[in-house]
């Protein structure tokens, strides 16, 4: 039998319910297996900012629900996630636990309520191993911007795990949790999924509630699963999705109705990565595509290249607005000086890390009068045009594919100038600008300096057509 912590959600759920006593595992055993590995590996990888103590009541309750199913005449009622240990990104609120967004600003802040996604997971009987490291306030692409040190890539500890959900992806890759939740603003689920060789889904904007999730860029942010398999991603997604009265940006099922269809044709916007993709990356990508058995055609998305500039303008603008709430008055880091202005200045200057300060300043710039038309309003218009081009493309093709990232994981410290790091996100940001769902699935390995490093293939589907992503994902996964 597989080591318990190495199981997928599906495998663990089956083992928890095995009929033969010799094959059956307990919730406690599964928890201990994950928790022990998490504690053993964390000093080296820095995946978790905190590993939680076992919640005895939750473990007992999950076991009870599973046991009752075995004797109940009506059969199964305990959800698949019952008794499954998950890792949670440190910007998602779990009542009573610290939630810091990997910032000094919130280093000692305790969540006063559960995020809706946490409530849903608790209802399903899921357990929480710990809170995972990330780029401060979800700003970055490498988890190097954490106030609590960088997370190491489990495949090569001299490399980054990607970001901003680097801790969540590394936790799943290193089998320190069965699966994890991340958040995605410009690729923050899919980039680390690609670098760590796991599956990552960014759902359609509005499908998953963000009540209780620390805001970075409100018009882009979505919560999503990071898992070992496509099927696990579907299970986790099905559990956390749904309209929520606590988040008025959530959408009802079927808002975009006509979007679920059979996948025959895959479109590839080749001009987007011509000249920037290594030969081995292109070879992996082409071979993964061939194995889908779909008809592959080249498509043009003319606004896709300038879209990266639009993405960062909107990102800076919304970050500076969202982070204005941290003023040292009501909660979070609070420093006191001579005057009230000093209180604000000291609290914000001490509380925010370098990249956060940089983006707040850039956001203040692109929103300032005299520049707002040239930058922010133009970016919003470019976003509309890009979405239109994607919608047009989906009239000709069923799904759109690119590599998730232009390269495998880079070395820690390699991209020290901020602009070079921003350019890494060129493929993933498109789905955040359009609000469409997208998934990263492992497409094999490429070699760098004698190390085999995982890389991912990226699919985008029309709004609310996550099902298509799971279908094509399953095919890619099986043929790998």
């Amino acid at each position: 039998m597989k080591k318990l912590n190495e199981m997928t959600i599906t495998e663990a759920a089956r083992a928890l319910r095995a009929e033969s006593a010799s094959r059956r595992i307990s919730v406690r055993e599964l928890w201990d297996a994950c928790s022990e590995i998490a504690k053993a590996k964390n000093p080296e990888l820095n995946v978790f900012l905190e590993i939680f103590d076992a919640d005895e009541a939750a473990i007992e309750n999950a076991q009870k629900r599973i046991d009752e199913d075995a004797t109940s005449a009506s059969g199964r009622s305990a959800p698949m996630l019952c008794g499954i240990p998950l890792a949670i990104k440190d910007n998602i609120l779990i009542e009573g636990k610290i939630v810091s967004a990997a910032s000094k600003m919130l280093a000692n802040y305790h969540a006063t309520y559960d995020a809706t996604v946490i409530k849903k997971l608790k209802d399903a009987g899921a357990l929480f191993i710990g809170r995972t490291n990330m780029d401060e306030f979800a700003l970055g692409s490498s988890t190097e911007n954490s106030a609590f040190g960088v997370t190491k890539n489990p495949y090569d500890i001299t490399r980054v795990p990607g970001g901003t959900s680097g801790g969540s992806a590394a936790a799943v890759a290193a089998h320190m949790a069965i699966a994890a939740l991340g958040t995605d603003t410009g690729g923050s689920i899919r980039c680390p999924a690609s670098y760590c060789g796991v599956v990552g889904l960014k759902p359609t904007y509005g499908v998953v509630s963000r009540s209780g999730v620390i805001a970075a860029v409100s018009s882009f942010d979505q919560v999503g699963p990071i898992t070992k398999t496509v099927e696990d991603a579907r299970i986790l997604f099905d559990t956390i999705r749904g309209q929520d009265t606590l988040d008025s940006t959530t959408i009802p099922d079927g808002l975009y109705s006509e979007n679920k269809k059979e996948i025959k044709t895959v479109g590839v916007p080749r001009n987007l990565f011509a000249g920037i993709l290594g030969e081995d990356m292109l070879e992996r990508f082409t071979s993964a595509l061939e194995k889908t058995g779909c008809n592959v055609v080249d498509i043009e998305i003319p606004s896709a290249k300038p879209a990266l500039a639009a993405y960062y303008i909107i990102n800076f603008a919304e970050v500076s607005t969202n982070l204005a709430r941290f003023d040292g008055m009501r909660y979070g880091h609070a420093s006191r000086g001579e005057t009230l202005l000093d209180d604000y200045l000291l609290s914000r200057t001490e509380g925010f890390g370098e990249e956060t300060r940089r983006r707040v300043l850039l956001g203040t710039f692109v929103l300032s009068s005299g520049y707002i038309d040239a930058y922010y309003r133009k970016a919003v218009a470019a976003r509309v045009q890009l979405t239109r081009e994607f919608n047009d493309a989906f009239k000709k093709v069923d799904i759109i594919a690119t590599p998730t990232m232009p390269t495998p994981a880079f070395k820690i410290g390699e991209k020290s100038d901020p602009l070079s790091l921003y350019l890494e996100d060129a493929f993933t940001i498109l789905a955040n600008l359009t609000g469409m769902p997208a998934i990263s699935i492992p497409m094999g390995f490429v070699e760098r300096e004698g190390k085999q490093l995982p890389v991912g293939i990226h699919f985008t589907a029309p709004h609310q057509a996550e099902k298509m992503l799971f279908t094509i994902g399953n095919t890619v996964e099986k043929t790998l």
């Binding site: 802040y109 500039a309 303008i313 604000y344 914000r348 850039l362 203040t364 040239a374 970016a379 470019a382």
Partner: protein, 99 residues
């Protein structure tokens, strides 16, 4: 192109302090970043009007409010300073005569 004075002004607006060493660094980085995002100016936009969002008028009926002070204690524990259930802040209105 960005000048140190401009960056300093932005910092004042954003309530952030930047020391001189950082100011130099931020200013040169801003030049590179602004040059990059400035390429958007060249993008031709064909009659893009404000898109009407698919989702609108999200309102709900008034529901039953939660019991008074149900969350007070939890929230007060997160205040930097408190007196009973009140948040302590600096006095901002002075009784002294302004000269």
């Amino acid at each position: 192109m960005a000048t140190k004075e401009e960056v300093k002004k932005l910092a004042t607006l954003a309530r952030i302090k930047i020391d001189d060493a950082d100011l130099e660094k931020f200013t040169s980085e801003f030049d590179a970043i602004l040059a990059y995002i400035g390429q958007l100016e060249k993008l031709e936009l064909s009659d893009v009007k404000e898109e009407i969002p698919a989702l609108h008028n999200v309102m709900r009926e008034d529901g039953k409010p939660h019991a008074p002070s149900a969350y007070t204690e939890k929230i007060v524990t997160q205040f930097p300073a408190s007196e009973k259930n009140a948040l302590v802040v600096k006095q901002i209105i002075s009784h002294e005569e302004i000269e």
